[in-house]
């Protein structure tokens, strides 16, 4: 109980300071919109074509936007040595990690909520034909991205070239998660409820989230306390 309260305090702190400065949020959101625009040059954006690759397109946008957001997650603690103070405080490293993951999750979901309608309008796609399933996929896959991303944000926080290191390490790690999200999203945007193979993808996504959340929670103290 106290553990959850501590994690929530950290998440609330991160959300409050990010919503106040909007540093990472603005950069990340405008980056996402720019990529969304750029994709229109990569292929012929007819409704048919777009629907076929909608999952891949959307999740690449989300993954790129996420990297910008996640880079700042632990880096923002370096100013004034706040990270040292948090680590010496009675908050367990894993609660600190979960709090930060939660904040990143909410922020990235927010960015996705802006990108989806923009995608729908620009590419003339009715994306909300399976709203509940789509919401579930967004929640699960975004958690996968943020849990891995926050872990690597902690891992690279004290390194030089941290901004370059994070995407290089995170993207290969995220391939299974992104692939599942892309498959599911493409089918959902086309209006098909998940069945058969799609359910297997969904199960894999859940497994990915559970395993990497558990592993990160177990290892984050080793990362933060040397």
């Amino acid at each position: 109980m106290q553990y959850l309260r501590q994690a929530w305090t950290i998440a609330a702190k991160d959300l409050r300071s990010e919503l106040r400065t909007k540093e990472a949020l603005n950069a990340s959101l405008s980056f996402a919109l720019v990529i969304l625009l750029l994709f229109s040059f990569a292929f012929d954006p007819t409704a048919e074509m777009t629907r076929e690759i909608s999952g891949g397109l959307l999740w690449l946008v989300f993954a790129f936007a996420g990297a910008l957001l996640l880079n700042r997650s632990f880096a923002r603690e370096l100013e004034n040595d706040c990270l040292d103070v948090l680590v010496t405080s009675p908050v367990p490293a894993s609660a600190l990690f979960l709090g930060k993951t939660l904040a990143n999750w909410v922020l990235l979901l927010g960015i996705e909520m802006v990108c989806l309608p923009v995608f729908g309008v620009f590419y003339n796609v009715d994306w909300a034909r399976q709203p509940l399933w789509l919401a579930l996929v967004l929640l699960l896959a975004t958690w996968g991205i943020t849990v891995i991303g926050t872990m690597f944000s902690a891992l690279t926080v004290n390194l030089r070239l941290r901004e370059l290191m994070l995407p290089m390490l995170v993207y290969p790690m995220l391939i299974p998660c992104l692939m599942a999200a892309m498959q599911l999203t493409t089918a959902l945007v086309a209006g098909q409820a998940p069945a058969g193979d799609q359910l297997a993808w969904l199960r894999m996504l859940v497994g990915f989230d559970i395993i990497f959340t558990a592993l990160s929670v177990a290892l984050v103290e080793t990362v933060l306390i040397g």
Partner: protein
């Protein structure tokens, strides 16, 4: 003593390799569909086995480092990863040569090729991370965590890419027939010399790592005080 053992192992590996190549060229007939080039499989497949064995050793060494804090484990982890990457590259390149001759293309997004490439990139990231950390204990700790995370994602990568590819139509390029016993024996028989080479390389790299640590300690001693 240590050197002599390594030279001895090297000699055994060379003899085994020479014998295997002799048998491959003279003893085994050309495969019916692929002709002479099929022999590349005797290096291609054992290289992949060796690669993943190395990554597994790196995982065990990384866990042991986090448990004990002994730098020898870190040396083993990085040495095994580097050697694993070398064998992974051997696997990819031999596969590409084979594909060029049999399929007429260097690369296809077949699930095995793609998965192998992703794993190779994952572990290449491990080496890049190491170069970015100055302090040896911190480097050991962070890269051990990365090694554990990377090994965990490998099965996910293989399964997801396999599912992804089997759902999509793709040219059926060859049937998956079971190999004849003679070929199979050679496949495993040729794994032994490659494994010996891997062991020698890891041992040499570990020795280098030890020297690097000693150098680093001396430099710190000189600078600190």
């Amino acid at each position: 003593m240590r050197e002599k053992i390594l030279y001895g192992l090297g000699a055994i590996a060379a003899l085994l390799l020479a014998r295997n190549i002799w048998v491959m060229l003279t003893g085994l007939p050309d495969e019916a569909f692929q002709g002479a080039i099929f022999r590349i499989i005797f290096f291609h497949v054992p290289a992949a086995f060796t690669c993943f064995l190395c990554f597994f050793v790196s995982l065990i060494a990384s866990i042991s480092y986090l448990k004990t804090g002994r730098m020898q484990w870190d040396s083993l982890a990085v040495s095994a990863t580097e050697v694993g990457l070398a064998f992974g590259a051997a696997n990819l390149i031999s596969g590409m040569i084979w594909a060029r001759i049999i399929w007429g293309i260097w690369w296809t997004w077949d699930w095995r090729l793609t998965s192998m490439l992703v794993c190779w990139l994952l572990y290449a990231g491990y080496l890049v991370l190491r170069r970015a950390v100055e302090e040896p204990a911190q480097r050991a700790r962070l890269s051990a965590v990365l090694s554990i995370l990377s090994f965990t994602v490998v099965p996910f990568v293989f399964f997801s890419i396999k599912w992804f590819r089997t759902q999509h139509p793709q040219p059926v390029l060859y049937g998956e027939g079971r190999m004849e016993a003679g070929y199979r024996a050679m496949l495993y028989g040729n794994w032994l010399p490659l494994l010996l080479i891997a062991v020698i390389l890891v041992a040499v790299r570990m020795q280098q790592e030890k020297r690097l640590r000693e150098l680093d300690a001396l430099r710190r001693e000189a600078h600190a005080f």
